[in-house]
Subunit: 589 residues, 2 copies
């Protein structure tokens, strides 16, 4: 296919767009691939659309190889199915909702589990119809609180979403693995580095999920991994279980004045001076920090909870959101403290001489959760619920109890992996794919059952598998650019070869034209810069911004039968005979 | 490409869907091509999606040949550009509107003139950049009052919309013609009969527009045409101009009792008996019917108007909507008459002995419009604004005047074409394409100007060109079915050949499989009915419903080296040697 720059709807920009926070956004706009229409909403110009279609073509091929069949569902969907599964509420403000002229509720679908489930229910009734995996590539919608970073977090974005249907757990494992394998092949073909991490299922529900993360500094996800192969999103990381310690022989809890201890370090110093441990000095990790959080549901009801965790840790709000979801998590406000005078700010603790202070059964009635490291028999320094007083040698399981675990403390480099495989390191990544074993959640809610071999009705078990097409495109751009513009990998470049007519004389134009046509005849997609009045310098700069990997320059050398081959990535230029161009560029496949 | 029915996500239905009003809807659902998700909103199952993609591929090819470049714009768009052009209001309840989490207004785009215009403005600034035609194929939205007839009038539907940009009127003519020619080629390739008719531009605005109508009884559009080549949508039909007659020598207007004249015929009889014309008898077309209409704007403001037209005609409400648009037109209500006591129901007329009764300058102040046939010098029988009295010999241009023309009477077979080409006939059709010369309306509203050859800023002139992809699919189905199911034309059939394994013995299965593979190797897309446990009868019925044009039946005959070729359209079956199948089916291209 031959396209001419004199005709192509594109204009490169010399200035960075004002709102560009990341390189992919900057270069995709400057190179004329996309144009912003509203926050997180973009138009796709011809060059951008071609890259998008190349990524889609790879996904289609691999879906087909994985036995998945393409369908196309509406973006505009009625409320009812999402109401049935509870997601109409759970999504909170994160979806676009609207009413039609008859005041019926609709949403712009962020994902399609419900209607795929209902359609399979509509069509199928027997185990013989299964397994089934169906998918679509379609524009999806999410009303992000902070649409940002161009395509990396948009409000209208293209996704491939696939759904599998099986009637046994073993079948689901096979369907899940087929999609997981397809994802690996897709990312390999796209040249995208990825790490498969355990993930939190979140609002999707279900029993098992893994994320494909692309390690990247601008990533919004933090994940942990170690050399032994453990990898998890921090939301899914679980603190390694610790054995309880014996309660016998531990000192009594002791209230002690703690003036001038504004920090954990000063509190630890005071403890070591005035109320020392017999076995070893107190450390920051022996202080028990009690953090007050508000859990907010879709109707804005607030429930206050307190989470106790070692003083050398912080609450990781993303882990807290995942733990307490679908409710939102917010730090407690001054108003919350005013409403709950039992909470003595700065001196909150689970215990007082008059009995438990925190916990559903306590005097405050406020739910109390503990970090998994606060196991029975551990001794703590914590607030005494009296200003300027702390309690020391407070023993978990003897002096205080909780209403349950809250594994929401931040994860640090060196923390042990829960599977015993050794210490983990944290890194930043961006989600590029997500595979879920949903199990029977949606099938149960929507009544999708089939007859099994014995004629008994069984509930179908499902998987859900997503890849962000437009996000992947942005991540590829994020990893493939320099300070002059984009540098596409061959697999997704909008054109294979960029031919530049660098000079105004007729022979140059003729050679450029003939080379472009010869390359097209050899099966290549060629962009020909045939703009008659522009200088070679302007054309070279445009070629660098646009980022097609192979560039042919027909310039002065044509008089001697020579053109230059310019490799965009290495910036290397070499002179070749005109007759050798097709061989040099087509041979490389 | 080989697909197996044992794997394909499809289930044919024996019963008609309850809501199916038309054949295309019925068969597309029964054959498992689409599934309803909400009124006017459908999911596309694999077979349906394949047909859709075949239509899209033809459109893409022809767009490319016409020099149009593909882009992709968001469906979710902000209010502002549509506010600027006035369409946010004009669309009234016909678009889906919504607010994001920051309460900003958005719409689901029904068409994209505004944002295409703004993007061209953003990128281009010189006449050298033009002409430009860009297009997309994309899901669009319209909140229809009565979504009906399956895909024929949906609320989410796929459209190809193209937009051309030129800086001269001659350029627009060329761009318009290129799209118009492409449309003709597209419809010819799809085997879709079409009539190109003059159309009313409606809310789109602009100077010239033509519709491609497919003549079909279930069509929502009425159009007129004659053998001399005149063709117009009824909304765009204009009554042939008539010369005024001399006013001299006409009898005086005369009020006369008109009891017992409930119909036009009784009134005409009374006139001929009591107040005869000297030149010829009164006829129904000499009575002046004054119809009261309410024009309602987007804010629900009502303006009452009266339209005078010959008594043998009715107001055609679609013509009235087109004439008075963007305001809606409604019949006057009892409440309207109560508010306007000057209107004596049943006896309304423009004249009284005390002066004009209708018209902005009259005693009532109500605007008065006249059918183009009510020219100066014509004599009329009409209401005298007194119960049971009419006025006779009332002469237009002498006794009464209007505020303007309203060409909104119904069009009848035999009416003369306005271009003098003779009488027209009316017919029903369905819009399958629409081409508009928008002119400078959008470019002016949104400030799209470029520098011309002389360095002067000139406003760009635009065209807009739409084809309904999903509607076309339904119309093809409407014209290609029998009482057993669908019968696709080869150009858009989901598969080229349907191979049926009709029998359970191994040789039958082997032959079916080998034939399917041989046909695939010859470049055909094959659907293989390999379902082991179903009877031939069930498979034949499914093949008839699904409607692939060529069917190969491998049954008992395989023992003698024979299979049957079954032509779905003619229902003809003929036996052929297995070795001849590929030649017979692939040779026909």
């Amino acid at each position: 296919m031959l396209e001419r720059l004199s005709h192509l709807f594109v204009r490169t920009l010399r200035e960075d767009p004002a709102d560009a926070e990341v390189a992919s956004h900057k270069w995709l706009v400057r190179a004329g691939y996309i144009r912003r229409q509203a926050p997180g909403i973009f138009a796709w110009l011809p060059l951008g659309l071609r890259v998008r279609q190349k990524i889609e073509a790879i996904i289609h091929e691999e879906m087909r190889l994985a036995g998945a069949q393409q369908v196309h569902f509406p973006a505009l969907l009625p409320r009812e199915p999402y109401e049935t599964t509870g997601r109409w509420e759970e999504y909170g403000p994160n979806i676009f909702r609207l009413k039609d002229r008859r005041e019926a509720d609709y949403l712009l679908a962020p994902t399609h589990e419900e209607v795929f489930t209902l359609t399979v229910k509509d069509l199928y009734s027997s185990y013989k119809d299964l397994p089934l995996t169906i998918y679509q590539i379609q524009d999806k919608y999410r009303d992000e609180a902070r649409p940002r970073a161009g395509l990396l977090r948009g409000r209208e974005f293209s996704m491939k979403d696939a759904y599998s249907f099986d009637y046994t757990d073993e079948g689901l494992d096979v369907s899940y693995q087929a999609q997981r394998d397809a994802y690996e092949r897709i990312f390999q073909r796209l040249g995208l580095e990825y790490v498969i991490v355990r993930a939190d299922a979140g609002a999707m529900g279900g029993s098992k999920s893994e994320e494909f993360l692309h390690p990247i500094a601008v990533g919004e996800d933090t994940f942990v991994r170690n050399d032994a192969g453990y990898a998890a999103n921090v939301e899914a990381f679980r603190v390694a279980a610790t054995e309880p310690l014996p309660l016998e022989g531990l000192p009594e809890a002791e209230i002690h004045d703690s003036p001038d201890t504004p920090t954990i370090d000063t509190l630890v110093a005071l403890a070591n001076r005035d109320v020392p441990r017999s076995d070893r000095p107190w450390a920051a990790e022996d202080t028990l920090k009690n953090v007050v959080l508000a859990l907010v549901d879709a109707d804005k009801n607030r429930e206050l909870v307190v989470v106790g965790l070692p003083g050398d840790r912080e609450v990781d709000m993303k882990r807290a959101e995942a733990w307490f979801g679908p409710r939102d998590v917010e730090p407690a406000t001054e108003a919350d403290f005013v409403q709950h005078p039992a909470l003595v700010k700065g001196y909150i603790g689970p215990w007082s001489t008059e009995g438990p202070v925190l916990g559903l059964e306590s005097s405050s009635g406020i739910a109390y959760y503990l970090d998994p490291r606060v196991v029975e028999g551990t001794q703590w320094v914590t607030g005494a619920n009296i200003p300027e007083k702390h309690v020391f040698h407070l023993v978990a399981g003897r002096d205080f109890h909780s209403d349950g675990v809250a594994d929401i403390a931040n994860v640090r480099d060196g923390d042990p992996a829960p599977d015993g495989s050794g210490p983990v390191n944290t890194a930043r990544g961006m989600e590029i794919g997500h595979v879920f074993q949903l199990g029977r959640k949606y099938a149960e809610a929507l009544g999708l059952q089939v007859l099994d071999e014995n004629g008994s009705l069984v509930t179908v078990t499902m998987g859900s598998y997503g890849i962000g097409v437009t996000r992947i495109l942005a991540i590829i751009a994020e990893g493939h650019h320099d300070d002059k513009g984009l540098i596409w990998p061959e697999a997704v470049a909008p054109y294979d070869i960029h031919v530049i007519q660098a000079g105004k004389d007729e022979q140059v134009a003729t050679v450029a034209e003939e080379l472009a046509e010869a390359l097209v005849a050899a099966g290549k997609d060629v962009l020909l810069d045939d703009r008659a009045k522009l200088s070679p310098g302007v054309k070279f700069a445009d070629a660098e911004v646009i980022g097609i990997p192979h560039i042919v320059i027909a310039g002065r050398g044509v008089a001697e039968g020579k053109v230059e081959l310019w490799d965009r990535a290495s910036d290397e230029r070499r002179e070749v005979n005109i007759a050798d161009v097709v061989g040099a560029l087509v041979g490389r496949d």
